[in-house]
């Protein structure tokens, strides 16, 4: 069996017009999901590492989208909110008296590559479906 795919510049132009309208909401969903997943992972790490004297620390974790498409940028952030009880404690980086917990850094180890993979899949989906 042979499959022949034929496309011209007109098809490409049509696809690009469609992608331009679809991309912002797709990218926003991917970033939003990444931020929520990162927060969930970091919160789990914090629950495991903060111990009894940091029992409120994991509850201080939250996530939010900060930029929703302004200038083509979609950005969110997650982590402990310093306005919450124990949210300002220095568990992440530690101090001379305790090693860094790296709850956020360890979540980024997972979320960073996953986000990259999602972005790559988006590109495939835009052009091939």
């Amino acid at each position: 069996m042979r499959v022949r795919v034929i496309g011209g510049v007109g098809d490409l132009a049509r696809d690009l017009r469609q992608i331009a309208t679809q991309a912002p909401s797709d990218i926003n969903k991917v970033v939003r999901h990444g931020v929520r997943t990162g927060n969930s992972l970091a919160k789990g790490n914090a629950r495991a590492s903060s111990g009894s004297h940091g029992k409120h620390y994991p509850k201080a974790f939250s996530s939010e989208m900060k930029v929703n498409g302004l200038g083509g940028l979609h950005a969110g952030e997650y982590g402990p909110d310093s306005a919450m009880p124990q949210g300002g404690m220095s568990f992440e980086n530690g101090s001379r008296n305790q090693p860094p917990h790296n709850d956020l850094a360890r979540s980024a180890d997972v979320v960073g590559p996953a986000l990259y993979g999602e972005a790559k899949r988006l590109l495939d989906r835009w052009f091939w479906t």
């Binding site: 980086n93 530690g94 101090s95 090693p99 860094p100 790296n102 590559p113």
Partner: protein, 135 residues
Amino acid sequence: MSDEAAQFAAIKALLPALDIYDYGRVPGLKNVSGQINPGVAPLQYALLSIERRTVPQEGQRVGRTQRLGYRVALRLAAKSATECRVMARNVSDLLDGSSLLIAGRKSTPLHHETSTPPEVDDGYYSALHQWTYAL
């Protein structure tokens, strides 16, 4: 010697001029029980910790060997912020891009991940610097 102990020793070997300790083992300063360790507290020193990190599977196999990811954290402590910054520059010069040789295996080059500025820290100034690598 465990892999982690060997990595600890390899990093120490890259930084021969720096007094490097485990957390709670610094002479003249508090240990984990809150008691003072014997000896005189150093004016400058570093605390080293190494942890496994989760790395994506893709690209982590070299032949049949599975590479593991690590994060090395150095907390540099000194009596002034300026000294702390000088220590950081010297350490970066020696570690950035260097590889560790552990039991005949060469790590990927140490990749600088993050640094904090010197902050007041219980009678010292200290700053955290972290690198990642795979072995």
